[in-house]
C-alpha cells in the first residue's frame, strides 16, 4: 500500500523516481528536512513543478493551511473542512501527474488524516460496463470537459474532483446520485494515513485519489505542497 523510505544524505532519488513511475502506491519519506528550498530542489530532480503566482515566492511550494480572506476561506484546501477523495488540478489543460506533500505541522491525532485510493483498487470493483460508462461520459471540470476514466495505451488514468465538477457546472440530480455512489465506492477501497512532522509523501495524481478528514479551525496544521509533471 505504501513504499516507506527514510531520508538520509544518501537517499536514492532514482529509486523514488522509479517507484513514482510504477505508480502503484504513495512513497513516504520519513525525516525529510523542513525547508522550502530543499523541497523545491528535491522535486526538481523528479520532474517539472507547477509554478503559480500564489505559491511561496511565486515558485512551486504552496502552504496548505487554514487561511482566510474577506472572512471566507481562500480555497477548500485552505480550510479545515473535510476534503473528499479527488484529483488535484482537475481543471488544468494538462494535469500534473504527481504531488508531493511535506508535513510541517500535523493536526491533533485523528484529525486532518490523509486518505488515498488507488485506481487499480477502483477498477477491481467496477464491472466492464461501468468502466466503459466512466470512460465515455463527459463531465465539466470548470472549463475543461473530460471523462472520469481515461484509457491510456495499456492502462487507465483517473480525474475526479466533485467539488470542481459541482461548483462550476449545473449537475443533474441523477448525476449527483452517481457521484454519491462513486464517492462511496472510492471510500470503500481507500486507506488512511496520518502524516507526522517531517513526513514527505509523494504520489501519482493520475493513478491515485487523495483526500483528508476535517480538523479544528484553530489547528496549526501545515503541509507544503508541490505539484509536478514527472520527467
Amino acid at each position: 500500500m505504501l513504499t516507506k523510505l527514510k531520508y538520509t544524505e544518501e537517499l536514492n532519488v532514482q529509486e523514488v523516481y522509479h517507484q513514482l513511475q510504477l505508480g502503484e502506491q504513495p512513497i513516504l519519506i520519513k525525516n525529510f528536512p523542513l525547508d522550502d528550498l530543499y523541497l523545491e530542489n528535491f522535486v526538481l530532480q523528479l520532474g517539472e513543478p507547477v509554478i503559480e503566482a500564489r505559491n511561496i515566492r511565486g515558485k512551486s511550494v504552496f502552504n496548505v493551511e487554514v487561511s482566510k480572506q474577506n472572512n471566507f476561506f481562500r480555497s477548500i484546501a485552505n480550510s479545515n473542512i473535510e476534503f473528499p477523495l479527488h484529483t488535484d488540478c482537475a481543471d488544468f489543460k494538462e494535469i500534473p501527474n504527481c504531488i508531493a506533500l511535506l508535513c510541517v505541522q500535523p493536526a491533533t491525532e485523528t484529525q486532518g488524516t490523509s486518505r488515498f485510493t488507488s485506481l487499480s483498487a477502483i477498477l477491481e470493483k467496477l464491472s466492464p460496463i461501468e468502466i466503459k460508462l466512466l470512460t465515455q461520459k463527459q463531465w465539466l471540470f470548470r472549463n475543461k470537459q473530460r471523462p472520469i476514466l481515461q484509457q491510456e495505451e495499456i492502462s487507465y488514468s483517473i480525474c475526479y474532483d466533485r467539488i470542481t465538477m459541482e461548483t462550476f457546472a449545473e449537475v443533474s440530480k441523477e448525476d449527483i446520485n452517481l457521484l454519491h455512489k462513486l464517492d462511496a465506492l472510492f471510500n470503500n477501497v481507500s486507506f488512511t494515513l496520518f502524516l507526522e512532522q517531517s513526513d514527505l509523501i509523494l504520489f501519482r495524481n493520475d493513478l491515485l485519489l487523495h483526500g483528508r478528514s476535517g480538523f479544528d479551525l484553530d489547528s496549526r496544521r501545515l503541509l507544503k505542497r508541490v505539484r509536478l509533471y514527472l520527467k
Binding site: 503566482a53 480572506q69 477548500i76 470542481t164 461548483t167
Partner: protein, 110 residues
C-alpha cells in the same frame, strides 16, 4: 485614483482583459477598503459559492497586485496586508495605475 483590473488567473495572462477605471478613493485608505469598494463598483461578489453534495461554503476571491510593468511578479494579498495603505503598493500600470488581478476561479478548490 486610476487603476486597472482584470478578473481571472494571474498565471494565464493571455486570458486576461484589463480594464482601466477611476475609483473614488484616496490612496491613504487601506487596501482592504479599496478591495471592498472595487467589488462594489464592478458588481463582483467577494466570494464564490462552492458546492458538493449537500455541502456548500463560500470561498474568497484572491488578489494579486502586479509589482512591475511587464513583469509577472505579484504581491499576493493576505489577511496581514489588508490594513496596509494603498499608497504603499506598487503602481505598475502604463500610466502609473495600480494593477490588480482578482481570481475567483482557478485554485478556489485546491
Amino acid at each position: 485614483m486610476n487603476i486597472q483590473y482584470a478578473i481571472g488567473e494571474p498565471d494565464n495572462q493571455n486570458g486576461l482583459i484589463y480594464k482601466q477605471i477611476a475609483i473614488d478613493i484616496s490612496d491613504k485608505n487601506t487596501i482592504g477598503d479599496f478591495i471592498s469598494k472595487l467589488h462594489e463598483i464592478i458588481g463582483l461578489p467577494m466570494y464564490r459559492e462552492v458546492t458538493w453534495g449537500e455541502n456548500t461554503t463560500k470561498v474568497s476571491c484572491v488578489y494579486y497586485i502586479q509589482k512591475k510593468l511587464g513583469e509577472l511578479s505579484f504581491i499576493v494579498l493576505d489577511k496581514s496586508r489588508m490594513n496596509t495603505k494603498v499608497s504603499k503598493f506598487p503602481k505598475s500600470g502604463p500610466n502609473g495605475e495600480l494593477t490588480i488581478i482578482i481570481n475567483n476561479s482557478t485554485g478556489i478548490v485546491n
